[in-house]
Amino acid sequence: MSRKEEARWADRLIAGDPSGFRDFVEAYKRKVYGLAYEMTRNHADAEDISQVSFMKVHRSIGTIQPGRGLNTWLYQIVYHTSLDHIRKKSFYPREALPSIASEALFNEPPDPAAGPERAAEAACLRRRIDEALAKVSERERAVFILRHYHDLKLKEIAQALGVSLGAAKSYLFRSLRKLQKELADTETCLGTGDRP
């Protein structure tokens, strides 16, 4: 979403457009939900966090400045709401982590032309990535997810997380090193692979 589009959203919300907030939710719901899910690894929590985040936005419409980009602000709300949620739960529900292979977590259907072996390899890799992501810290994970899946610039990520640009770079480097280490032996998923 370009800067201009973000500014248009901000103007619509400030103007009190009756359908403005609904359109805003429709436009951002997948992004908000996606970050909340990556932070909590739980669909019920992700929906709860996304709803609470949108309610916070609704309550704070009066504080939005005209022409201001909403992306960073929205991610900031989601990130902090997720952290609050995790702390309130007081434990990380690793046991509740859904198995990627056993649940239809992704909309992307397996390529029918790829064949069952390729589908099994892809499922194995996804599970390994998911496990690897669970092993990095919350802040490192947030930086990586926002850069890799949400396509935010490092400067925006730094603003959203409330850290310096240098720290954001450092978190991204560390998260990639850890993921590299965790995913070093994904060759086992190839060929016969460890099918789930």
Partner: protein
């Protein structure tokens, strides 16, 4: 090595295409000469490509279709809850820990304050009813009179705290009463006036007049009736103290008339009765000696 550290930190930016052209060229030149940094770069690039194999988490279309309805319902529910219109509404599917804590509209400090009030009330109740010390028995003080009572019996003073002033006043009245009885009961026609042992009684009267002055000062209007009695007594005692050694029966008769006109003996007995009644109100019955004393006093007053 310093250059390696600098460039390694920039590798993620290079992989995601965030470096400007000049910086990218410099990094490429460094990677061309540094095998270790080159390995880090290639390893990270492979990892980023692997991560692409995992799409962003998503839900089925029907989940997204009803997303706004659920959000709208929850917002309406929470707004209604904050306005106190929670009747008939129960939990909703998206209710998580973030919404659960809003179930109570009463703030927590109110619970704490209510608990403190309950404990305070309970403490006062226990302290007043259960932990009250047992009623102390009244103190018994045996006061030995400076002069023995007419019956030779000791005076039993009862009461929670007999003040020294009251004891002194009581002694003063007893001494005065004995002196006045001796004067009043003397018969100048049948007996010799000097059988009264006038010098001794004059001396006693002088002492009592001095004591009366001190007592009056110390009472400071706390007991007006007793103060008036002492003043009356003082007048009579002054007359006795001022009797001339050759005073005739007429002088004694004048003193007798003064005692009778002022009802001094009656007032002394009345004071004794009043004190006894005060003690019995406190919870102490006058007792056999007190009763005897009262009866004796009343009889003496009647005689007088």
């Amino acid at each position: 090595m310093k250059r390696c550290h600098y460039w390694r930190n920039r590798i993620p930016e290079a992989i995601y295409g965030d470096l400007d052209i000049k910086t990218r060229e410099k990094l490429d030149r460094h990677l061309a000469v540094c095998e270790r940094c080159s390995d880090v770069y290639s390893g990270m690039a492979v990892t980023v490509r692997k991560m692409d194999a995992r799409p962003a988490p998503d839900r089925p279309p029907q989940f997204w279709e009803s997303y706004w309805d659920r959000l709208e319902w929850r917002m309406a529910h929470e707004i209604g809850e904050s306005e106190g219109a929670r009747a008939g509404r129960k939990g909703h599917p998206a209710g998580g820990p973030l919404s659960r804590h809003r179930a109570f509209s009463v703030p927590r400090w109110a619970h704490g304050a209510a608990a403190a009030m309950v404990f305070l009330t309970l403490g006062i109740f226990i302290g007043r009813n259960l932990l009250r010390p047992p009623a102390e028995p009244p103190l018994l003080t045996r006061v030995m009179p400076s002069e023995p009572a007419p019956g030779g019996q000791p005076v039993l003073e009862t009461g929670p705290a007999a003040s020294p002033l009251a004891i002194r006043a009581s002694r003063y009245l007893k001494r005065s009463r004995v002196l006045l009885l001796a004067v009043v009961n003397s018969d100048p026609r049948a007996e010799d006036v000097f059988s009264l042992n006038l010098p001794l009684q004059k001396k006693t009267s002088e002492e009592l007049v001095k004591e009366a002055m001190v007592l009056k000062k110390e009472f400071r209007s706390s007991d007006r009736r007793l103060e008036r009695l002492i003043s009356d007594l003082e007048t009579i005692l002054l007359q006795i103290a001022n009797l001339k050694s050759d005073a005739g029966p007429s002088a004694v008769e004048i003193i007798k008339a003064g005692v009778e006109s002022r009802d001094i003996l009656f007032k002394i007995d009345l004071n004794v009765v009043r004190r006894s009644a005060g003690k019995s109100i406190v919870g102490q019955s006058p007792g056999p000696w007190g009763e005897n004393r009262n009866q004796a006093n009343v009889k003496a007053a009647a005689k007088a």
